[in-house]
Symmetry: D2
């Protein structure tokens, strides 16, 4: 559903082209200083003026509707609302007959019996990551001793990100990318097995970000090719620090005090400038689809701040459960 | 925590060397035929008499404690209990001073303040996947129209699985592996975004299986290197079937009616016959650890049935939510 | 916390004197016609122009922020926002030293370490029942075949409600009351024991309404004085209809197809015009408190629509779980 | 469903005449001393050798299946199993045609499509309170500073409990009763509004005990007849103690540091020795039902320990959420 978390809990709502969208953050302890300005830096990171990102530029000013009093959290649910303003919905009617490959158009229409708000992808839009980022800002404040840094480490299979994006723009195509997130200074023992290990909770949230196709921890997929003698991280101090970190900071589904290392693969955006051959559901025949509108060539470029947010949110919840 | 699922819900309990372990399956509809024999085939797949697997051989006979009457489910919680019998616990005391690299010994002791049952890994043992398999058997019966098949597609980075395992045995080492799971005949629209998309729920459960380091859907990590024009799965029929399946059967975090394709990377088992240099926490100095006991050279070999189980469990729950 | 329900799930937010307050209703099926006007009648019932109710008169126009498209529910979370406008907060500072008897002032300040928004009772205000009513309107539409009617059956121990209220007004005092709610045409078998029986879920929600001190079903407290031969409701038709209804429509924590009968006792409002002797926490001495502001003489008078709402919400969720 | 609690969480399973029944207690902190003997006193209180209670006398020895190691809780889920032994099931077949008034026979058969285990009431049996009591023992140990005492304060409307029961026995009838529970030494601020106030959580659990028809806090139903000036509890010390306790220890749905006072009304047991006129569903005509078997004349007599248990369980969970 649209709620996640046991104590530090999020409820997300809204659509891309409706009135607005936002989040309720429940379970945040009282007494944390929090003002509108605190959100602006992370929100801006999602909307960079950079090659590869959509020209749709909302101001994205969060309205703090509840849970804040005298510039501090009160312990009550914090509601953050974003209004939609720069909306161009006219384009979207035509996808009823020719659902865009890779998009949720077709499945959403089936699931919601044709009543879903399809404009701009509705509730499936990448714009729904805005509330995640806002919740992440709050979580980061709460777990401020933990440093979380994510960055795009490759795009289109290339470590030369700028070149890869420029090339895709020229081709009116799109490319995927890989984001790596590292969190330092994490206490030992966060995670609640059997089911709520740290990797389970993190991957649950990460796969809720549109476009994610793989999540790895530490050595990740390459660990399949390693021997135990090679993979095992040998302890070097009694606080649990290890010489290597193939486990990515996780033992037995609990944080082990080493750096938490996560890699997230984003597929290329579905909307491309190039025309695509696909099925016309009205005629039952192959047809040519041209997806107009304002698209990202490389959506992955905008996602490091989102990955950071979900890592912070997960750690905040586990921290509250554990204490 | 130890409970997962909204309607079809699991609560797992037990330890490797305690009295026993098991699962409560809540929310299973009444009227499904279910007898002890139904469990035996899948349970046996976890415990093959094959190279690469531990010589610990429990009989693993499930006791159906509740929820079954006249050989059918009643709608009440189904409790399945496995007794531990073939237990050799003497070995485990020594790891207090010299926690085994890669194991949960150190973190568990920290988290649970030294009170955890460390014998055989306690609640962190791979043996806790038994109840998952048992729950999976029930789920498979409930969603019998969906075919779910998982297999080990590589071990130690090699597609020649037998050779790779034999080689690791000779070296007294261990190796990881990759399991691929495909589920066919899935209805369109399973998944409950924002947070409970199909990939989120599946990865949540898959990462609760000990030893998993990566989860991918469809093209997975390779999708980062693909262009949108290449990745997009073009529709070929009005029921949503597509020419390619790079999305792995998922659009907008909902099943799209194509095959669900999941790949799971298992790291090599931590326990190896070879001696390992590690820290002696009592002396604060490097020491040599030899891990005796009965270990898997390639635990991944035993996991396809576990991956199938968690896929079935997830789909059963989503099916009940959706209907 | 601030979220309740398994499928048809509510998340409530906001404060009495902050920006606003509202609710996210998750899990509502798509395709239900829903416009702003649908809410007005029930909202007005909470705010009657009648003796015994507060002169604070907000317009209480609900803003439908998400989940509605083309005047129908979409299946996405429905967010309803009420803005606070008629706010007079100046009065509330003084209660820091002299917390009002019966109010949450003291406990809220302790729990939230002084950071709670105390203006108008903050998150503890009866105004937070507005979102409940709004959610109830949606639930009623979904379970439209079930008729739910609640009314105030006594106030101040008197069945002559108008007189009792007039008398209390004269005395600058307040009085409690009893609301009875009857729901007809309920299918057999709603409720999910062990823990989520119909009475458990209903009482959970009913006690979240400020001021409730007792909840009874059917014969309620008087059943303690009855004999089994007298209490037992004898079947008169094979659809489960019974001659009497002492059980109040519930057998084994499941609806039994007879009328669901609930009685709810509301205590008198804490704020009274009369001056009260209480402790001055600053001086540690007895002091005289006069509570100004706009108060209800008989808050119970405004609550039948709230009780109806929570009954509808509970039934809607159980209906979705059961189907 | 069969799971309740956010951190200190219970999952109940089993039937009256099946293999057994029990509970998983999840979220219990490690390091609490716990052995089989700890359970015996409270379990015995449910099964007194006293007039008014059933002659079915199980030994009710709890088996600690998991979560205990070296006589202490480990932090893993604690599983407690009771075997059913003194079972006489033959009698129950006949109720298929003539469902017992007041029992769950009819509704359970409808809900579970005839697959429910009807023997001895199956999952609806009062015997399912055994696991509640066991979980209560653990909770009481965890919150040992809080004193919780419940007692039967009236039976059949009479404060002379022994006489009332004797009379009912003579008449081959049954009677209800009222249990009052008082908990002392509770910290200020337990409860998590909006929905998870202390009264909401307590009543949720209390109504899951078979036979409860009303739950009241403090002045309860009588508060409807009180004036605010009379009801309001005036502070007498800065720790929040009040002169009176009409609120029953609750302000704004939070504990306020005064004694928590709860009254629970139990209806008379449905099974009575006397013959009853009821409908024969097979013939569609009125018929005479005689309910044989071993019954309680006054089940309420056995319930104080159950009420204490659910109070302890609720407080344990709120304590863990709050800290």
């Amino acid at each position: 559903m649209n709620t996640f978390g046991r104590i530090f809990s999020l409820s997300i709502f809204g659509e891309s082209h409706g009135q607005g969208l936002g989040v309720i953050v429940d379970g945040c302890p009282p007494g944390i200083k929090l003002v509108t300005d605190d959100f602006l830096a992370d929100l801006a990171r999602r909307n960079p003026i950079e090659p590869g990102t959509t020209p749709r530029k909302e101001k994205d000013i969060p309205e703090l509707v509840s849970g804040i009093f005298n510039d501090h959290t009160t312990g009550a649910p914090i509601t953050i609302l974003f209004r939609n303003e720069d909306v161009q919905s006219a384009e979207y009617n035509k996808y009823a007959d020719m659902p865009r490959p890779g998009h949720a158009d077709f499945v959403a229409s089936k699931k919601y019996k044709g009543f879903n708000d399809y404009r701009g992808g509705g509730m499936f839009s990448g714009r729904l990551t805005l509330p995640l980022i806002a919740a992440g800002v709050i979580a980061k404040k709460f777990i401020e001793k933990i440093n979380i840094h994510a960055k795009l480490i490759s795009a289109g299979g290339s470590e030369n990100i700028e070149d890869a994006i420029r090339q895709a723009e020229v081709e009116q195509d799109s490319i995927g990318g890989v984001v790596e997130c590292i969190a330092e200074n994490i206490p030992v023992g966060l995670g609640e097995p059997f089911f709520d290990g740290i990797e389970s909770l993190l991957s649950h949230l990460i796969f809720s970000i549109p476009g994610v196709k793989a999540v790895e921890f530490g050595a990740g997929v390459s660990s399949a090719s390693m021997k135990g003698s090679e993979f095992n991280d040998v302890y070097i101090s009694t606080d649990g620090k290890t010489k290597t970190n193939n486990a990515g900071g996780v033992s037995g589904r609990l944080t082990n005090g080493n750096e938490l290392v996560i890699r997230v693969t984003f597929r290329p955006p579905s909307s491309i400038g190039k025309s695509q051959k696909t099925l016309n559901f009205a005629t039952g025949k192959e047809d040519i689809l041209e997806v107009k509108g304002r698209h990202d060539v490389c959506f992955a470029r905008r996602t490091p701040v989102i990955v950071e947010a979900v890592v912070a949110i997960t750690l905040a919840d586990l921290f509250l459960i554990n204490n």
